[in-house]
Amino acid sequence: MAKGLNLSSDTSLKPDFKLNSPKTWFRTAIAIDSTTTLSRRHIYILPTRFGWLYGLLLIGLLTGSINYSISLGFAITFLLAGLGLIGMLHTWRNLANLKIEAKRANPVFAGEQAVFEFNVIDDSNRARYSIFAAFADKESDIQDIPALGESTFRLSLPSQKRGWLKAPRITLSTEFPVSLFHVWAYAETENQCLIYPHPSLRSQILPSADTDGATGQLSTTQGDDDFAGHLNYQFGDSPKRIDWKASSREQGMLVKQFQGEASSTLWLDFNATTGNNIELRISQLTRWLVDADAQQLKYGLRLPQHSIQPNSGAAHYHQCLTALALM
């Protein structure tokens, strides 16, 4: 988690597309039925600096051949010129007609790197080599794609704001096989990553259940409970609470259950947070949520619109964070 990230100053977010940037003038392939296809209308091509150097080489060879009247010089010069042109077509087709499919992205907390994954698929029965993918020339990944196969590209982006983060436009490019031409295309995918709110850094003590009338309640104190019995392991249960000895004796995993825990319920209430800034209050609530989960407490979440009944475990934890992220 990034330290010292000041959320309050980040309310105005930088747009993904700059209208004044010439790059936005280019045609972008868009996703249809969750698949983006780079058709030939989306492919752009320009010589690289090596391409220009190669052009200079050809001019030099041609003038030399004319000046010295070397017939074979003409032949080789034209062969190299042909190589350049064929190389151009090969570079172009190395990128053309690729398909891009978005994959699900794992949620992260605001401030962390959101990792987007997408499959790039070849269905033209041609292996593609050295395909670059990048977000606005920053993060890049490079992969080969087998003929009639696919490769997974992984691009990350720093997340800033809670909620859904749509993957920005991807630039796919290649210079294979001759590095004389740069071929690129812009593609939009349906990749999106859920960004949980950033947990506030001030580690405040969890609200106590003792305070009557308080909205955030912690019914019992933890730590001195008596062992009450075993429960079957459920996804999200802490490994610390697994009774390894008992599990090895019985079939399946068992989790130790402590006295009083079942009855102690912590309500994390939006109204219990203070301050004027909603984002800061959500941040505070997130911190409690994270702490409560770390302490393996049973907790419920009460938001202005709706509330989530107390529970524990990973699924519950993510459900609560999602509710906060999309609030």
Binding site: L79, S130, S179
Partner: protein, 673 residues
Amino acid sequence: MTNKAGTQTNLSMHAIIWLLLSLSITFTLYAFNLENWVPACFVVFAIWRYLIEKNNWSYPTLWLRFPLTIAGGLAVLLTYGSLFGRDASVALLAVMISMKLLETRTKRDFIVMVILSYFLTVNILLFTQAIWVFLAVLLALTGLTACLISVSHQSMQTNISTQVWKNHFKVQVKLAGKLLLQATPIMLVLFVLFPRIPGPIWGIPQDSYSGMTGLSDSMEPGNISQLSLSSKIAFRVEFKSAIPANNQLYWRGPVLWHQEGRRWQMASDRIPLPMETLQTSGSATDYTITLEPHNRNWLLMLDLPEISASTLPAEARVKHDMQVLSKEPIRTRIRYQGSSYLQYKLGAELSEHERTLALQLIEDENPKTRQLAAQWISEKKSPTAMVEAALKMFREQEFVYTLAPPRLGKEPVDDFLFNTKRGFCEHYASSFVYLMRAAGVPARIVTGYQGGEINPNGNYLIVRQSDAHAWAEVWLQDRGWVRVDPTSAVSPDRIEMGIGAALTDSDLLPLLSRQDYPMLKHLYMNWDAVNNGWNQWVLGYDQAKQLALLKKLINKDIAWEDIGLILVVSMIALMLFVSYLLLSNKGMVLNPSNRIYQQFLKKLAKAGVTKLKHEGAISFGQRAAKTLPNQASEILEISALYSSMQYAKQANSKITNIQSLNLLKQLVNNLKV
């Protein structure tokens, strides 16, 4: 726009190997043309660079590279006396490329290196354009392209297995070959149609043609025997009619008038002399000569040419002594047609001026020779008798025809005629003319080539530098200039059968001019026929040939300017065609089993079952079987077979694959929906 650096993982070893391999080919070619230390320098730096890569040594620092660069430049300067000129600049480029190997690390370095190496490799054509050189250049270009491909193939993978690593070599060279093959049609169209401008556009370095051999404008004892050691081809001749006998094949080159010590020179152009008259008899011999470049103006013709009936290159002129000169030195292979008469009478009248020139001798030299001449004069011998006497002397005394004559002393003619008596054609011709002039008979030396070798494979004559010859012409009243070949008096075989038969010490001669090794000779003749075609159609392809070819193709006269238009139109058409082939997605390559499966899909589609895009063969088969229960078993069998063929391709042997392919074909053909 460029991809970021930092992904330079594992590019180096493939690239280094390709680069060093291709440069090795290039430098091997240069080993024949540049000073030996230049390729040696490459070998040192190449091995060094390879060891750096292999053993992870550190790259040499600037403090080492800088003095090395200076030293390389100095070495070129010292060897070639300059940094400019053809040889020096190519050597400099070669040395600098060798040294740059030591600082070639990143993708950028490699690509710049490959482009420089392309340039260096093509530059070999300044020195030689033989077929095998062309093939070697193609090989080097393929390697360099493979290097370019290996550098372009960036990947995140750092640890790949040796098998995959080796496989990359194959993939890279295959792709390089493919790219060059696909470039060939473009090359052909451009080569045929690109308008040829007769060069040069600007000056050419002095030493550009230093490698060319041929007759010089002067002659000294030793000149022609030196030339005879070269097996290089001087020119080739195709005859329209039968090839004349060997002893008639005198190819006329520079005519030498002026004597100065042991040196004979052409008459100065400043003295205007009347054109010698020419009367011909018999029938003309028509022929076409393809002259190799020799960096001089001589256009060789069969003795004696009828200029008006010959098709000479533009601006060629004929000197008064029937020597044909081009305006510019011959620096590219040219073709011209000649028409000659073997029976003729040249120069019926001899002007006073000509007589003076044809009798010119430096005074007070060779007293013994002069004494012999004076004796003949006192005997009141006729000029014809004097010629006879001289030839008789050569014939009857112990004169020897040899490529390795002893050095002549201060009085060269005396020394030769009365002392050593061993010499090559220039010794005989010059001493004969000297003797004639001393005796008051107008005489001159003609240099050129004598004889030639018939290539039965192409029915043409090959004349080599080893056929270089010198003979004499004497002017006789009523007969004009008469050719006298004193060499024939000493060694009739030379004139009748060629140089290989005439010399006893023939091992000095180039292998191919000798008479032994008939098998080798036979092979060589085939090879030369190929070479001749190469010369005619590839190396000799110029503006005239281009226009002639287009005329043949289009059946219409076209102007030089129109070629540009034809070129543009053809290139556009070709590029559209090539782009369609390469880029159209329909051109998707299907393997045989794919193709049969497509037929199967078509059949089912007609019956109303269409395969969904992301449906596997098996699941589609199951769905189709449910819809078409009557053909369920066949459909399932086809699907299973196809699926197994798709995924077990590598595992099975070739035979199993063919068997299952046939089975699949049969099943699909028998399927009735």
